[in-house]
Structures are given as C-alpha cells and as structure tokens.
Symmetry: C4
Subunit: 377 residues, 4 copies
C-alpha cells in the first residue's frame, strides 16, 4: 500500500480514479466474436455483466423489462416515484420542465409522498410478468419495514443500497437492520452496498451477501465529495474490494461474492476499465438515462438529489442519443463511448486477448496522470 | 516526511490541499443523531466547531449575535469598518456597486479612516449584551495599542490574527508584541495565527495560546501565493500543526491547544476534511458570506483586499443562498455543500462511524490527485 | 519499472505522455546545418524520419507523390476512399460540408462501398510512376485477401496497420493471418503495428518486420480510451518498444527493427520528443492534414471514424495553414510548432548538441507534471 | 536526483515549475523595513535584484534609464529595433495594430532590416549619458561581429543571450565564438545564458562569466516546448544551477558567479519563489511590459517571435496597468501580484523572517501539485 504523509500527524493512501487508468493490450489478439461477456450471479445468468441503477431516471417497470430482454439486470428503486404514485409519468415529465434553481426543491417535495406497500407488490409483479429476472432495491433504513412486501411479491434478487452500508450499523433510536441475520433468513440472493474499502467489503461479504456494490452510490450528478468530503476514487475501491473477494473466498472455503462497480462510469471505456481492475459486473445509471425509452426523458438524478435536509446530488441533463438496444448492443453512430457499450467491451477484451470476464481481470493496466487526454477523463 | 528534490541545490516537502483528500468510511456506520459535534475551548462550550472569520463581509455585531445563538463563535474584526465608522452600512452597500477595477482602490480608501477606541468598546458591548460569547480580533501590529480598550469592554476570547504570526517578531522601529508576556498577563483565552508548520505552531503554543489558527488568513479571494509566493496547502498544514499539538501536550504536561483551520474551506465537505485531518475546529468566511444576513450582501473580502500598498486579495461575488440558520443547520435546497454545513458534518461522521470530533480525527483518508472530480476541487 | 498499487488487488505501471516530457540541452550546441536528419529503412533512404499516416484526409496519390519528393514517405490507405471509388474527390469535398452530428453516419456509409482490386493496383502504380518510394497499408483482417493485388502492383514498403496488431491472432471464424509466414514469403519490407509494450513489440519484431508502429493508430480525433478504455501514453510506449529493439538486436544477432511512433504528435516539439525517447521515425497525420494540398480540405479523420458498429474516432476540423513544403521545411509564419517540422527538429538536435538521429536518442529528458505550460500540452 | 523510468529504454528526471512551489514561513517574522533587497554583481550595486529582459517591448533607451533610476538594471537588445532603425517608434506603434494572424509575418519583416554599428554606439551612449549602469545584449552568433562597437561605446555589463548558450559551440561554417577567450580578453563583466542544467551552467561559469542566465530565454509568449520540445521547468533549473554555483565557488577558490533566473515569472510571487530556490537575481519581461512607459504599448514579444524560418514565440497582449515605479515599488491597486513587485518581495522575506537575499535562498519550500490554486499557476 502506498501511504503518503499528508503532514506529520496524518497519512493517507494514494488512490486512483478510472480516468487515470489505461488498459494495455500486451499479448495475442482475438476476434470479438470469440469473446464471452456472460455473467452469472447465484442461479441467475445474464448476457452481459451490467446492472441498471435503481434511479427513477433510468429504471421504470417498462425499462426493467426492456433491459432484462436485452440481457442485463435492471434494479427498480422501491423508494422512488413508482412506489409512491399510482402514475408517476406526469411527475417524470414535470422534472424536465424545472429550471436549475427549482429542481432540488421540487424533487424534495415529490419524494415526500409516502411509499405504498401495495405499489411495491404490483411493480415487482409487473416486471416478473414479462418473464425477466426481477431486482429491486431498498435503503438499509427501510429494508426491515418493507422487506415482507418485497418478498411476498416474489422478487428474484434483493438489493440493499445506500451511500455507505456497513455490516454493523449503530443506532440509538431503533433496532438497526441486522444484515447477517436478515440475509440468512432470506431465500433470495442479496446484493448490498456501497462500500469502498477492503475491510468494509469483507464485513459485508461475511453477512452472506451474493454481491457487494463498490462506490458510494454516485450517479453522474452526485456531489458526495463536496457535501460530505467522502470519496474513494473508483479504481482503487474496486481493486481493494476485489482483494477482499479473494481473501473471503479462501476464508469461507469457496464462497465467491460478486464485486459490482456502482457509479463513476460514463463511457464504455470506463466499464471496461472497471472490469479490468477486478469487478465482476458494473451498475450504471447515466449511460442508460440517455436512452429514448429512459423514464428521465434526457434528465438524470438519483436518491441523493431529493434528501429532505441534505441533498447530495443534482438533476443533470444527459440528453437522449438512441434506443436502449443501440446503447447496449449498437450499432453506434457516435465516437464517444456512449453507444454499443457491450460491443465495445467485447472489442476491448478481444484486443487484449481475453476470452472471458474472469480472465480479463488479469489484464495489464497503466496509471497515467496527465497522460490520458483531458477531454476524455 | 516526503522530501522531493526540486533540483540539486534545493529540496522541498510534498504538500497536499484539502481538494486532494477524500474521507474513507471503513467501519461501522451510525445514525447522524448519535453524533456529537459540540466543541469546547477553555471555559467556553459551543454547539458546533465553527468560528466565523473576522471579515467585514461576514461578521457584524448583528451576525455575531445570530451566529452565537446558532451555536457558533463569530469573531469581529476590530480593524474593520465597524470600529472606523459610526454607521458602516452605507459603505457596505457601496461595495456591492463597485466594478472589478475600482473595488481595490475604494476598499483602500474606506479602510484608511482611523480606528476609534470608543467604537471598539461599543461593538463588543453590543454583542455581549445579547448574551452570546464574544470574540474579536486585532492584528499583531495593533494588538498592543488597542488591547486595553478591548479588555475593558469585557471580551471573552481574544483573537490575534495576521497572514503569518510568529512567536518572535523582529522589528527595529518599535518594540514588537511580546506574545508570551502579553498572553501571560491576560485573563482571557487567546487564539493566535496564522501559521502553517509544526515549528511555527509549536512556538505559538508555547506562548500560552488557547488555540492556533492554521493557514495564512486567506478568504476565498486571497491571492497570497500570487503576490508573495507563500503557500502551504491546507491539508498538510493541519496535519503538521496537529502533530505540534500532540507533542506540546506532552511537553507541557497536559495543555491541549486547539488547532483551528482558518480559510481554504468552501463547502461542508472541506470542513469535514479539515476536522478529519486533525483540526479541532474551523474558521470560515465565504460559506457564511452567502447568508442573507451577511453584511457583505453577497460580496466577500478580507483584510488582504485593502492593504494600502500591497493588496493581496480581491473582493469576490459569492451570492446569497439562504439564511444563516439554513447554511449552518439546514434544511438544504442545493446539492453543492454550501448549505446545512453542520448537518453534513454529522452525516459524514455518522457515515464513517464516529461519534465525537476527537475520535473523528483518526478517520482514514485517501490522497487522490486527479481522482476527485475537477468541478469539486 | 515503477509499479504503483492501484488497490490491494491490482497494480499498474506509471506511464507518461509526450506532453509530460521536456528535452534538456545539457552539453555543447551546434549549428542546425551540421545536423543530419536522414533516415534509412531497409534499402530505402529518406531525407527525413517521417511517414505520412494512411488516412484519407492526409494521403492521396497526389500528396503521396508530393511528400515523397519533399523527402518523406507517405502511406496510402488501401481500405480508404481511393480504392473504393473511381473518383473520391466529390466525397472528400462532401465531408467538409457535414455537421458534427451527421459526420459519423455519413462516413460509415461512404466506407461501406466495396474495395476494388483494380483500383489498388492503379493507385500504387500512379504513385510509383512519379518515381517516389511507394508505401500502402492494409488492416491485418484484409491483408491476406488483397496482398496479391498489392504485390503485383510493385509496392516498395508494405504496411500492416490496425489499432492493435499482435503476432498471434486467435480466430475461430477464419484462418487468421500468420504474420511470420506472410512476411517470410514476401519480398518487400513490412512495417507492422500498432503495439505499445515491450512484449508485444518483441513478438512483432520476431515476425521479420522491418519496422513496428508504436501506438494504437490514433489520429487527432481518436477516442480509443473513451470507447475501449485502452491507452498507453506515447512516451512510455516508445521507450518500451525501443528497449525491445535493443534486446531483439542482440537476440537476432544484428537485425535492427525500426521503431516508428504512430500518432499522438501534433507539433514539431512532439516529434522531437518522440525521437528523443527512442523512436527511429514518426508517422504523423494531423500535422499534414493542415496542408493546402491535403485531401481532407482542412478536416481530418481516420479509420476509427467509420467503423460500422463501433466508431472510435471523430472527424475533426484542423484548418489549413500552408503548403506541404512549408509545413515540412518552412519557412514558418506561426509560432506554435505546426510549420517547418523538420527545421524545428534540426534546431532541437543542434541546441542539444547532437548531429544524427541515432545519437539524439540518448539526449537527456525531464518529466514534468504540471511543469509544462498547459496551453502546450 | 529523482529519476523516473519513462519506459524500459529511457529514464528522465522529475522536474518542477515555479507554479508547483510554495514558500513556507516557518520561524520568526520581521518588519518589511528590516529587509534588504540590494544586489551587487561585480562592481555594480543595485537597489533590487532585477534585470529587465532585452526585449523591444520592454527595454528602450528611455525605459533603460527609468529602470536604472528605480534601482534595477535594464538590458537593451542590440539586435532589436533600436539598432536597426533611426526611429523605431512608428514600428512599435504598428505592432499594436496587427491582428493575430499577421503579427508573426510583420515582425519577421521588421527585424529583417540590418543592424547598424553606429546605432549600437549611440543607443548605449544615450543610456550612459543618464548616469545609470548600462547593459546590452547580443546573441552568441553576433557577439564577435558587434563586440567592438559595443565596447567602444563603453558598455558596463555585457550580456550574451540565446535560447541555449553552451561553452562549446560546434560549427562547420565559421569559427564559433570562443566564450572563454572572449570573456578573458574583455574588461567588462559578462552575463551569459540561457542554460538550465548543472553541467551546462558549470561550463559557462568556467568561461569566466560574472553571471549565468537560467532558462531558455522565454518570455510570456514563448513556445519553445511546442516548437522544439525543449523544456526544463524553472524551479528545477534554478536549483540545479545554484548547485553549480556552489561547486564552482569551491573549484575556483572563491569566484561567486551570479545565478539569474530568466523568464517564466509573471507575478511577484514567482519572483520571490525564484530567489527562494537559489537565484541571486531575476530577469523579467512581461511584468514590465505592462508599464505605461513600456515601448510595447501593452503588447509583448521576444526574439523568438521574429525568427525568419522558425518563430518560437508569439506577440501577446499583456495590457497596461500602471507606471514602472508602481509596478516595481507600488503602491499597488490590484491584488494579483503584478504591481509593487519589490514591496511584495520585501514582505515575503519579512514574513519568512529573512533579512537579506543570500539568507533567503535557504527558506523552506513545499512542492504542491494540485495544491496551489489553478487560477494562480
């Protein structure tokens, strides 16, 4: 570990972002067609290692189905508009009309509406009815309260997601969620996070989770570092948690917990880098918010944006560039890494000579400071 | 210490700014309500570890009272407009009308008016009359001359503040302030600075000061590095002075001198980082200059801006975003770390699992170069 | 090798771009007239160490002849417009009319036209007819198919060029090109690439190539890092491949394989740096696309820009600044390193005291992070 | 020395610019009035350690006199307009009228006029007539030819200045200047440069020079790194040459050769940093080109800008901010380090506790990467 002395009284580790990383093709090359990008977690198998972020601008029941059919796994936010409103479409449309100043206040108001357990059940059923794998998320604070409604609806994969989720939460007000016991008693696989360090991830793995989310839940518009000062650049976070996966595999006698990079990826190049550094899959938001089917209609925001007292994210304009299919599988008509995300991943792996994702985690990388073009960082 | 060779004839230490630091949540999490952010210096106890900078754009008698009631400690600049003019309000209003070119010259003229000892007494009495803790500042050059007027007024906490304050000032013109003797003879606690190194801080601690200010007095508009070439990035300065606190605690057999980060913090994230690296409290200007009550009316400037011969700061437009209460305690309606500064601090500590400020100084941090988003540095 | 730990599970080498490098004059100086910049590869001798990139915006039969007469070596792209259309001039003119949005789509369509073997032969003959050395390029995927047509036309230097070319390509669909056998059976010298590492280059050298291209084929508008995540900053890539040249020289008992830096150079300063770090010659595109004779008419694009499913480059406006002669040999009327590329190289070598290119590879350099002016990086 | 491996085949030293340096006040403070900034080279004593660059936009006979009277030493460019034209004022006025495109071409034409030996003599006499110390410069190429005219005019300090000047120039055309013999035979002290490394400086010192210029002659608009790839960031260059001064002092049994930082300083902070790192004096251009008396009338250019075949500098607009006296001695009415350069230097030294320039070379400094505010780098 590369510790630097900040001053006499404090040291810190040097940490790296995906923008500082370059993948190095250093051996044989392959045809892209020879490459497999399938991903399996627990009993569920997917055509691509990609989850869609539980954000209202990205995942609605309709896009969850569409993404599932295209080979990915979309996670519905059970604390979003779809479980608070019978018909959130007018609200989603309204968000696009707000000016910069008013956006945060209006989002705070929209999300003040109570969550309906009935709607939780119906939304999950709607997705399941289409025959795709269902996944949905709750924050740790609300998991205990709504878990029964979720499970009754027959969810396939349970996601517990917050800015920072720890295996041991301390609270004087209420009995906090006992993650280990909760997961133990559950029949469905649980993906949990965010976390960003070896130790935090190892503790989450020990709760029995099938996967851990790496990152602090940031979408394109998140401002966690400005508001909280909390930041662990993504490349370092992934590499650390991947090491926890390896050590936990040994410790547990063979449980392989999936490492899912969550946020900080805006192009196909970033996705390839996250996998190259050790992630098993990625969870992305803004790249999918640019789809013509996206409920955000060219705008993008996450949970951070509507916190009642301390919003930590902005509604950002991302634009609309093509269909979900084009964004995931091409063909691309733009040269900036925003379309054909999975075609690009295949080509990166082919160029570097790897035929599956697990092997690709061993690819050589360089760290470049001002080495990479500014425009592309 | 990480010394780098600049060239064969000179080496220097690698130093870090707050913008290069990220706080790492790495253990349990807590409810924000479980977190204490109270701060005590000498006999004075505060609801938050925050001092307001002695700058005319931030602290008037009225805002000193307001900030005190909200739990903080405001420091009135005794060499500012409030001790030079019976009614400075018209001048404060005039500053907002100046164009960029004229601002420095007009400020130079406004601050050429003599300081009135009578006004010193009346301003302090005005604040004390409201029942809040009083604090006010003088530069080292004028401390001897005006100290009696200040003490007669019954000030609680005496602040001696300059760009750089040393324990041993050399002057051929006049008897310089003997800090050690001055503080020894005083009945009130003294906070003194700026300083930015272990050695300078240790010498200031030995004068008997209750707290030392870390930094070179820079507000948002300061240009010390351009004018003087003097610069010690804040993260390194805090970590160094925190080490001096620890060593002086031992040397003195138990005197705990408070380390107060002064300047270079523009968001709640920066405040959290300063405390994470070892500060006991922060002294901020521009974040409070954005309050609707702020005397600067959306503009901000410090002493540096009105030096007769060598101005080292600019009047900058910071805008008005909400009330002092909103800025300090929320609720926030913006996602950029400019509102609910103390709510954000609680959440950072909760996220990282710490329950009081002293413990929080041990939180893990990373150093990221281009790792942190540009927009937020 | 300077490996940095990205996180516990992954390390990577620190890599440097040309923008971080400065050449250091540290001994005697010379007259520029005393300097030789001639370059010889195989039996071909050139007045300058410069190849023109096989890009339709740079090399047409006419500019290939012009560049040859000025002392350089232009490479015609045999998969470009000149082998797909009897008269590509109207198409080249049309590209300049496209708006940013439409450019990629239209390029995709233009390059969908089939390649004509007849045109391959005629284009090469056209250049050869002018008496200059002929060079032309194919991608590895199409080399086997069109090689006969190329050789029948009597090409002097064969270039096999792709984003990444490896000595051992794996394909399940078709028999991949066996580079070693192909080169062995060929009578003409082969230049092959891109590659960016010691190992990849060493394997290419072992195929019998006369020269290897360093880089990933990027022109000014390439976006490989955004789309694929693949990036090796050029200074490090050149230094690595130069080491492979030295080791292969020993291993082969005396075969000197030329190292040709391909792309990432936009000014005469960049060209000098590439040679200073170990390149024998450079292959440039955008600097020549600015010539009044350039077929791109002030626009510039590479193969990456027209990929059917995954474009990885943009058509960029580079403008027109002078004749090919002025750009290569001056006189320059602009101070930005875009004109008199070879006069500048002579002067750099003279300033640093070197009289030929092979010696100049030993010149001292510095690595500067934010040291070099931003505008010039 | 901190060598970094660029790649397997090449290493380079990590070098630092002034923008990466911060001066650290770490001991006692002083009154600015207690500080001496006088400078003596050979028999000439000056009120400040500042030379004005031989650039037509800065030094005319009139400003040479004015700068001399203000305590500095201005160097007249003997290859500039003042020795080519009886009355260059109309040409100087014309430069301000040129647009960006035309500037370089017109400068090339203006400077094509032959140099008059008669004018050399008269310009020097004009300055000497005012009673100030005279200094003037020639390039190494023209030194032999015009030296007699210069010496006959009774010049006090001879400056030989080029982008890179070495002790041993190699030329096949003509007998190059033998610096050592030339200086030996001269009665006046010689200042010679630029150079940027320990070795090059040591060789220049051995020629008998009284001072060496550190840097590559760059004014604000120079583009040496873009055109030639040549660059040694200034902080490293000064520290290296200062080490050569120390070693040569020992080797020579006591000859102290002055180290004069030439270029790359745009603010008073930069000047303080250059001296802090080891320079004995600075040579500045653009800061003085902003004077109302400056012959450039708000524009600035150097020799690099008018090279016939390879211009390596641009005419840049710097604006006019005040009189020479204000710029050098204040009072300042702007907070950006562009006025009261010497007042600022005094204050920096006072703040850091040093009373003369030689001692100040020992001041502590930090190296900050992104630590220093961007706007001020």
């Amino acid at each position: 570990m590369t510790d630097v002395e900040i001053g006499r009284g404090k040291s810190g580790r040097r940490a790296y972002s995906l923008g500082e990383i370059g993948i190095v093709p250093a051996r044989r090359t392959r045809d892209p067609e020879e490459v497999s990008i399938t991903w399996q977690i627990d009993a569920y198998r997917f055509g691509m290692p990609l989850m869609a972020c539980p954000m209202d601008s990205v995942v609605s029941p309709a896009t969850a189905i569409a993404i599932g059919r295209l080979g990915g796994l979309a996670v519905l936010d059970l604390e979003g508009l779809w479980t608070r409103y019978e018909d959130p479409e007018p609200l989603l449309a309204e968000v696009t009309e707000l000016d910069e100043q008013a956006a945060t206040r209006r989002l705070q108001a929209m999300y003040a509406e109570p969550i309906s357990e009935d709607l939780i059940g119906r939304r999950i059923a709607e997705i399941a009815g289409a025959g795709v794998t269902t996944a949905a998320s709750l924050s740790p604070q609300r998991t205990a309260r709504y878990a029964k409604a979720v499970l009754d609806a027959g969810l396939d994969i349970f996601v517990i997601r917050g800015t920072t989720v720890s295996a041991e939460h301390v609270s004087g007000r209420a009995e906090p969620l006992n993650l280990k016991q909760f997961i133990y008693e559950l029949d469905v696989p649980v993906v949990v996070g965010g976390c960003a360090t070896y130790t935090a991830a190892l503790h989450l793995m020990r709760t029995g989770a099938a996967g851990v989310l790496v990152g602090f839940g940031g979408g394109s518009g998140h401002t966690t570092v400005a508001v909280l000062g909390v930041a662990v650049p993504m490349a370092t976070a992934i590499a650390d948690v991947a090491a926890a996966r390896r050590d936990y595999l040994d410790e547990s006698g063979g449980r392989y917990v999936h490492v899912i990079a969550d946020g900080s990826m805006t192009s196909s190049g970033d996705i390839a880098k996250a996998l190259a550094i050790g992630a098993d899959a990625v969870m992305v938001g803004s790249p999918l918010a640019r789809a013509s089917e996206a409920p955000g209609r060219g705008y993008h925001w996450g949970h951070e944006a509507n916190h009642t007292e301390l919003p930590r994210g902005a509604r950002v304009r991302v634009g609309t560039i093509g269909t979900l299919e084009q964004i995931l599988h091409g063909p691309s008509t733009v040269p900036d890494g925003s379309m054909n995300l999975m075609g690009a991943l295949r080509r990166t792996m082919a160029t570097a000579g790897y035929s599956d994702l697990k092997e690709f985690q061993r690819v050589e990388v360089v760290v470049a400071d001002s080495g990479l073009p500014r425009a592309q960082r």
